[in-house]
Structures are given as structure tokens and as C-alpha cells.
Symmetry: C2
Subunit: 378 residues, 2 copies
């Protein structure tokens, strides 16, 4: 059978790095994982206990928008985190933030529409857009702008704009006034805005702001994957403008039926597990401090201000112009898996690397020792 | 913000019926559910126990194609059920069969492509196609063909064909020679075939055949939802031709990252829970027998041969030409939720109803009593 043009998306390079690391581990090597953006910790204990208590129940389909109690709990989070009074009816529970992007793109854009996004950025934005016959339009950002787009960078001929704060891979955060300027500019141009806030909760003093603080005319996407440490559970959410609710509900009914019920039960309980989430955050903060001290000593000194998330994005142009090979060499010689920048920036990512510090502190420390030895021997 | 044209899909009517039933229940009424296509039973006990034992582990992202052991277990099912020797590399674990359709449509079709499907049929085929800028092309089928398309019905100007056996809502099964004739005709026309086999395992003597028995050049879609009683777990699979594996892997990496990990753990264990699945099947068989005896006495006597799945599709054109209102009247007066045929057939479904018999036998018996009283008083 013939495959489609739109199906010819690029691989998610970090997943290929993970597979190479897995093969090395299968061959008996110990690999330090600084490539993948996921906590080493399980879902919060309270979340797992809540699910264990529910396992005798059928856990059949839920309504498409998600369990009402979960939607209410998520709405309450907006009061807690941002002081925003959010109607739970605007909250849509999704199969991960991935599912939220599929729903948002279906609801907002028609085939051929163009959607702007900052480079560097999360690679799957680009690939999901392509698989849905949409055209990603990269906005090259500048390190002096903390790798975030300026309002005047927004092209006039796009239908959509994806914002990400804290950014992946940069970890940089949009200030409230920057969010206001970007969304105001987009509204003036008739451009629909999607604000990816999946790393909210993970900040190190810079704070974080939701696009909902500055406008209701935005689709906000978030997830239980990062702050609540629930990656593999595939449970996320979106907040949509009131007039979009019924459209998104119909698409969700048909495209997903419902988000995974067991994950919804666990996520609802996770909302109350703040102590555990904050304890994880303290580990990331310690890891981040280690990296900020040692990476420059080792030779990785051109980095974006790591304000949030659990990544450090390094400009390695003085070391290589082939980040794929460089990352492969680091995996091979140092046994440390890192992500080549090409995943995030098709133009300039051949000269960048992303280090994730979501792992355990002992592993991060060992990873740094190995990187130091590797760079010293180079 | 402006919503898209393609996002204006029809509601999944059965989910609106469920919501109306839920409201009646919230108001204190007892409703018998013969609308929704899901077992009343939980996931198999062995599946739930396996998950309970795993809840201490991180359950992070798995590889995009799914846990290798689960892919192997699914491949082994093809040997057990059909005598087909299937390479586990061709098995892709998906977030429900819904996720499998999104992956298949992305991998096979470009915006504007036309995809044929039998009417009546599962409504979400049509809506997912639309949301992905594809054009559903209905093939009206005949009750004398058991509501399945004939090879000569396949239009020459389509790029895809969706087959479903057992069909939903019809419950009818394609014979092996019919599968061969349909796939041969499609291949001759250069049409890609997707075979929806989600109700396999649920048959009442007619047996069932996979399209993989007659060709490797097909995308087969299946799920743990029905036979294994795991609807809300959102875990399904597809079998793809070998040359498509890498394309589907890349799309899955980007669109879904991975299927829900906890559901994968449960599904792997479910594969061994044959006794429990067969016990559920015995309940459906008893329910089916009740319906076959009593529905004609009550006044629903024009039904498709109910060979598989857990549905009976009834032609009610002598009773109504507005199945939506008729179903609402049955819910209101009899307290029985049934699905209007319009969900399945936009042209002729105003004169049909679908009865699901996936529920508990006592409920089905009470539903029949209520339907009898309702029809007698009409």
C-alpha cells in the first residue's frame, strides 16, 4: 500500500537516542540518562493508592471531556497557581498533552494552514502539524531573547502560533508582559494562539505565568507528565475558550472516546500530592545547581538561562557542527545519553545539545563526572 | 478564535444518549443501558492484579510501538485465533483503536483523499476522517448482504476502504472468501484497506476471519476494549505491512509518544485471562438469545443476522421515520437507553435502532420487559 506524503515525518530523535541507549544497556553497559524529559520518580504515592483502591470497578469509558471531578480539580489549580477563576466547563481532559495538540490543531486549523512556532522548540509540534497537513513556520529566536519569539517576529501570513513557557529545550520563561504582548499581537493579526504550559510548576525562582492571566482567547495545554511525574500515564488537559467547548467535545468523542480512565483516577488524586511534587522539584533544583556549576567548567559554557523545566540547552558550536554525531560519540565514549539539538531546531540544532536533569541526583553527578572525563580526553 | 471547517464534526450521538441517561439517573430514575457498546464487567482480574503489582514502578514512557512483550503476546494471538504466523515487529500498540485509526489515516492518506466505508457503520470512522481533512464516501449496504459491502460496490475514485467484521452496528461477519474478494478488488484499484476487527473473539457460531488470513497488504486494527473488557483503558493495536512499520513508528513517536503504560501492563496480563473473557462471552450469548426470542414478539422483527459483537440492528421503519425522537421517547417512557440508527447511517438511520446486549443479563431482561410494556402501550 502507498503511504501518504504527510506521514513522512521526521523521527523524534530523542527516542532514537533512547533506543541506542537501551541497546547499549542490553549489551551490559551502564548508561546515564540525560536525554529524556521525564522524571525518574513514579506517579505520586497518593495517585497510585487511589488507583489501587479503584481497580475493582469497571473503569469503562468516561464522558469525552473527562471525569467532572477531575475537571473541577484542574480548574481549582488555576486559582491556586495563578489566581485565575476558571470555569471547569472550559477544561478538557486529554490523552496526554499529545492528545491535546491533536484536538487543538483539528479544532483550529484546516489543511494547508500555517502555524508559527519558535526555534528551538519541542520537535513534535512540527511533526504533528505535518501529519495533520498543516505547515509549521519556524521563527528563529535569539539567545539574548532567552530563545523566545518577539511579537514583531510573528509572520502576517500564519493562522496559528504556538507559545511554550517554560520552553523545551531552553527552559526559559515568558514574563507576563511578554505573554500579553505576544497574544495581543496575534489577536491583531487574527492568529489563534496555543500556549504550551506543560512545565508549569517546575521553576527555580523566575515564577511562571499562564496565558490565561492575560487573555481568555487562547488554548492552553498542560499535563500531569512533568510536575506531577506521570509521563507514561498519558494524561493531560487543555483549557479552551467557551465558544470552542462543544466543537472540541465532538472531536474528542470521535477521535479519542475518552482519556484513559485509570489515569484520570490517578491524576485526580495527584492534584492533592503537592508535598511529593515539591520534593521532586527540590531534587531538580539541586541537579540544576550541579549542572550550572560544573557544565561551564567542563566546557559547556554557552547556555540559555535555565529558568524552568528540567533542561539546559547548550550552544556547542565551538565543539561541533554535527550534534547528531557528537551526541552519538558522547553516548559511545562516556556512556551518557544527551539529545542533539537537531530535534529542536532544524536550522541551528547541528550546533546545540540538550541536557535533561530530571533524573536522580546521583546519576546526574555521575553523568557530569563522565562528561568531564570525556571532554578532558578529547 | 476562529474554529476550523474540519473540526465541525457531527456529535457521536450515542454519547449524547449516554448523557441524557446520566441526567435521568441523576434525577433519581433507574435506566437500563442498551445503548453503549461496552461490557459491564471490569478488566480481567489477572490484568488488574498485574497492574497492582506494578504500581511501585515508575511507569514512564515506553517505546512508541509498545512494550516488546505485549507486541509478542499480540502476535501470538494471531497464531492462536487464525493460525497466522505474525512477526511481532508488525504489531503497533496504540492508545485504543481510536489512536490506531488516527495513525493509519495519517500514514496512508493525504488531505482531500477519499475513503470508502459501508453504511451502516461505526460513526467515528466518518468523523475522524473529516477531522483529518479526508472525505468519507459511504457505500449503502443491503440487509440481504448482511449490511456488508460487495466488491463491485467499491468506487474507483477512492484511496481507501474501511472494512468492519463483525460490523458495528450490524454484528455481521465477513466470510473468508468475502474478505479475499474485497481486498483483491481494492488491490486491483490501488485502494488501501483498513480492516477493523475490534469485535473479534465475540462470535456466536459464525466464526471470524482476519484480513491477515488473505493478505499481508492491509492495516488491521483491533483492541483490548471488547473481548478483553477493557474499554476505558484505551489500549488497542494495529498490524501493519512490513514496509509501513518505520513510518507508523515515527508518527506514533510524535503524535502519542507511547500508549498508556499502565494499560499496557494490564493488557499483557489480559492476554492470559481467556477463561474470564470466555465467561463474559457466555453472558453475551445468553443475552443475545433473550433478544432474539423476545424482540420479534415485542415488535422489532426486522433485524440483521447477529453473528458477532454484542449488537442487534433493527429496521424500525414501520414504527418511525425519526429514530432520534423514537430513542428519546423510549428513554423517557421506558427508561431504556438505545441508540438511534442515525449514528451509523446518515441516510437511512432515521429508520433504525441499535440495541447493545453487552450489559448484565438481569438488566437486559428488565430492559426487554420495559420495551414490551412500552410497545404494548403505544
Amino acid at each position: 500500500m502507498k503511504t501518504s506524503q504527510r506521514g513522512q515525518v521526521d523521527p523524534f530523535i530523542v527516542m532514537d537516542v533512547m533506543e541506542a541507549a537501551r541497546k547499549a544497556e542490553a549489551a551490559g553497559r551502564r548508561i546515564i540518562h540525560m536525554e529524556v524529559g521525564q522524571p525518574a520518580t513514579p506517579a505520586p504515592k497518593g495517585a497510585r493508592q487511589a488507583l489501587a483502591r479503584t481497580l475493582e470497578q469497571p473503569l469503562g469509558y468516561t464522558v469525552a471531556l473527562g471525569l467532572p471531578a477531575l475537571r473541577q480539580g484542574i480548574a481549582a489549580l488555576y486559582q491556586r497557581w495563578y489566581g485565575v477563576d476558571l470555569d471547569p466547563a472550559r477544561v478538557v481532559v486529554t490523552p496526554g498533552s499529545s492528545g491535546a495538540f491533536i484536538l487543538a490543531f483539528s479544532a483550529l486549523f484546516d489543511a494547508g494552514d500555517r502555524v508559527a512556532l519558535g526555534e528551538p522548540g519541542y520537535p513534535s509540534y512540527r511533526q504533528i502539524l505535518r501529519a495533520m497537513s498543516l505547515e509549521p513556520v519556524g521563527i528563529p529566536t535569539r539567545i539574548e531573547d532567552r530563545y523566545q519569539p518577539r511579537p514583531e517576529d510573528l509572520p502576517g501570513d500564519v493562522q496559528g502560533l504556538i507559545l511554550a513557557s517554560p520552553g523545551n529545550p531552553s527552559g526559559t520563561v515568558l514574563r507576563r508582559e511578554e505573554l500579553a504582548a505576544l497574544t495581543t499581537r496575534a489577536a491583531a493579526l487574527g492568529v489563534s494562539v496555543i500556549s504550551d504550559e506543560i512545565y508549569h510548576g517546575l521553576d527555580y525562582g523566575a515564577g511562571f505565568h499562564s496565558a490565561l492571566e492575560v487573555t481568555d482567547d487562547v488554548v492552553v495545554i498542560n499535563s500531569f507528565s512533568k510536575y506531577f511525574s506521570m509521563t507514561g500515564w498519558r494524561i493531560g488537559w487543555m483549557v479552551v475558550p467557551e465558544p470552542m467547548i462543544r466543537t472540541v467535545e465532538r472531536i474528542a468523542q470521535n477521535m479519542f472516546i475518552c482519556p484513559p480512565h485509570a489515569s484520570q483516577v490517578a491524576a485526580l488524586a495527584a492534584l492533592d500530592c503537592v508535598d511529593e511534587a515539591e520534593a521532586n522539584l527540590a531534587v531538580y533544583a539541586a541537579n540544576r545547581q550541579m549542572l550550572l556549576e560544573r557544565l561551564p567548567q567542563i566546557g559547556f559554557d554557552r547556555i540559555a538561562p535555565p529558568e524552568g523545566a528540567f533542561y539546559i540547552y547548550a550552544d556547542v558550536s565551538e565543539l561541533t557542527d554535527d550534534s547528531l554525531s557528537f551526541a552519538a560519540e558522547i553516548l559511545e565514549k562516556a556512556g551518557v545519553a544527551v539529545t542533539p539539538g537537531l530535534d529542536f531546531d532544524p536550522r541551528r540544532g547541528a550546533r546545540t545539545l540538550r541536557f535533561s536533569y530530571a533524573g536522580a541526583s546521583a546519576d546526574i553527578a555521575e553523568g557530569l563526572d563522565r562528561l568531564a572525563a570525556f571532554m578532558a580526553a578529547r
